[in-house]
């Protein structure tokens, strides 16, 4: 059973602000969804699959720059806060 504390922890982990009002509803919804999908554990317990083996294709290519579709300047101006060709953020440390 997930409680409000669990949701608060997940919210900080996900960088999403969840209001006090919403927390209880969100906890209930998430809990019911988890109960439903959680039955997957029984499926694996009842199967013979030990490990997952993937068929893979080698898609490595030469380390050569493909023609870029945009320029750094075009990308920087998309940032909500930018100045002089740089993206601005608040203090990190």
């Amino acid at each position: 059973m997930l409680n409000s504390e669990d949701i608060k922890k997940l919210a900080i982990l996900s960088r999403i602000e969840v209001s006090e009002k919403e927390i209880e509803t969100v906890a209930k919804e998430i809990d019911s969804i988890l109960s439903y999908v959680g039955e997957i554990k029984n499926a694996v317990a009842n199967s013979e699959v030990e490990d997952v083996h993937y068929k893979t294709i080698n898609v490595f290519r030469e380390d050569v720059l493909l023609p870029p579709k945009t320029s750094p300047d075009d990308l920087v101006i998309c940032a909500p806060d930018n100045e002089g060709g740089y993206i601005k953020v608040k203090k990190i440390l």
């Binding site: 997930l2 949701i7 997940l10 919210a11 900080i12 982990l13 996900s14 960088r15 999403i16 602000e17 969840v18 209001s19 969100v26 919804e29 998430i30 019911s32 969804i33 988890l34 439903y36 999908v37 959680g38 039955e39 997957i40 554990k41 499926a43 694996v44 199967s47 699959v49 997952v52 083996h53 294709i57 898609v59 290519r61 493909l66 579709k69 945009t70 075009d74 990308l75 998309c78 940032a79 909500p80 806060d81 993206i87 953020v89 608040k90 203090k91 990190i92």
Partner: protein, 469 residues
């Protein structure tokens, strides 16, 4: 010539252009008039491009100069999560409300090379999470057959636009049925090719190991024509592959009786499915019962992987590199408020769920288990495809439901994906084809799934069904 939008198809339209019956500009004007009349009620489009007539005139100029690209002058609607350079793409979210794409998706480059004209961007569930387009931050798209009902999702706008003749053909994206289910609800054809058949470069990622862009069209021929233009290995998408060339089909169709007869399947859907089997039999197909026991876990497998990959893909929407931003007191608050206030309920719910299933202590029991069961499901399908060419199901367990009917309980919305998620899990191609209507006039569709890379079988078998219907 008076343009009948209802009867237009890609080949008919190109014929009309060739004969000088009308120009691309005439055709686009007809669509714009129809949009003016109908779209305030349907809300398929989020934006009609202001330069669409100029695009049409450019197409006419090219035709006059003797050019004959495969989709020259064909008017498209494009789902709001596919990037077109210089145009807004918001994924129907507030967090990208004014985001202007800085490059063309590969599919858009290919459509441009083929001469396509873009009318506008279509409504969808926010960030491709949902099953009805009710999760759009800009309002729901209504079903053209019954305005009290949903158009389906997440490509609801694209499906509604094609169904109500507001464009000739559209692009959607499919993660768990998001092309096929709205196509089914709106009575049009929707195709999701094999995983990797169409480049994902320039598609806003939802579930990277499931997503595919695909056509929503009025018939199978148009879907095939568009698919042939947009498909192909792409340097910019290392998960892209080339499709197999045609191989002989055995005329055997697989049906999973126990799966089809579960609870929650509408009686009219069941009856229509049985009728469709008869149509195939009359066309000389053999119906073979197959058993895929792992399918009882298909929804859990799908949704665990969905939550996990989505929460990872949504991390980029933080108000720093692009999109909108809500100011906080410090950097952490910038993130918390921006994402908290600008992302919708379903998106936030899935991010939290994803964080949970991927967290230490739970990773193995949820995500690890889902990956294992995914392999079991894939093996079940490989075994089935040794006996049959395609697997047949209804596309959706019900016809279009009423707006608001399923939005109270998120789990109920998930259960409606039961028939479509499988194709995304195993990576195989799947097409939804209209197969009839309910007594109330709501569209019904069947879904064909073919082996991985055998996309062409869907067109061949689908056309046989269509002819016999």
């Amino acid at each position: 010539m008076e343009i009948n939008l209802k009867t237009q198809t890609i080949s008919k339209t190109k014929e009309h252009f060739k004969n000088g019956d009308f120009t691309c500009e005439d055709l686009v004007k007809a669509y714009l008039e129809e949009i003016e009349k109908k779209d305030k009620n349907i809300h398929a489009y989020l934006e009609i491009y202001k330069d669409v007539l100029e695009q049409a005139r450019e197409a006419d100029r090219k035709m006059k100069a003797g050019e004959n690209a495969s989709l020259l002058g064909i008017p498209f609607a494009i789902k709001d999560n596919i990037l077109i350079k210089g145009r807004v793409a918001s994924s129907a979210s507030k967090i990208l409300e004014n985001y202007v794409a800085t490059y063309d998706a590969t599919v858009i480059e290919k459509l441009k090379d083929a001469g396509a004209v873009f009318i506008g961007r279509t409504n969808m569930d926010e960030f491709a999470m949902g099953g009805s387009t009710e999760n759009s931050a800009y309002g729901v798209t209504k079903n053209p057959h019954d305005l009290d009902r949903v158009a389906g999702g997440t490509s609801g706008g694209s499906a509604a636009a094609v169904a109500s003749n507001l464009c000739l053909v559209a692009l959607g994206s499919d993660t768990g049925g998001s092309i096929r289910q709205p196509a089914s609800f709106c009575g049009v054809t929707g195709l999701k090719g094999s995983y990797g058949s169409v480049s994902r470069y320039g598609l806003m990622a939802a579930v990277s190991s499931f997503d595919q862009i695909g056509p929503i069209a009025k018939n199978i021929e148009d879907a095939e024509l568009v698919f042939n233009v947009i498909k192909g290995k792409d340097k910019y998408d290392s998960t892209s592959v080339d499709i197999e060339k045609s191989t002989k089909i055995k005329r055997k169709i697989g049906v999973m009786r126990s799966f089809i007869n579960t609870d929650g399947i509408d009686e009219e859907v069941r009856k229509n499915f049985e009728d469709s089997l008869e149509v195939f039999q009359k066309s000389g197909y053999e119906i073979i019962d197959i058993d895929l026991p792992s399918l009882s876990n298909v929804l859990s497998t799908y949704y665990i992987i969905n939550f996990a990959e989505i929460s990872s893909n949504m991390a980029r929407y933080d108000g720093v590199k692009f999109g909108e931003k809500i100011e906080g007191k410090n950097l952490l608050e910038d993130y918390m408020k921006t994402r908290g206030q600008l992302l919708g309920k379903e998106v936030k719910r899935r991010i939290l769920l994803g964080a949970y299933v991927l967290s230490a202590g739970y990773y193995d029991s949820y995500y690890g288990s889902a990956l294992k069961v995914r392999e079991i499901i894939k093996k079940d399908f490989e075994r089935a495809f040794e006996k049959v060419d395609v697997v047949l199901t209804p596309t959706a367990p019900t016809p279009a439901f009423k707006i608001g009917e399923k939005s109270a309980n998120p789990l109920e919305m998930y259960l409606a994906d039961i028939f479509t998620v499988t194709a995304n899990i195993v990576g195989c191609p799947a097409i939804s084809i209209p197969s009839g209507k309910t007594k109330a006039g709501l569209p019904l569709s069947i879904q064909l799934m073919a082996p991985y890379l055998h996309d062409h079988s869907l067109f061949e078998i689908g056309k046989d069904f269509d002819k016999a219907l």
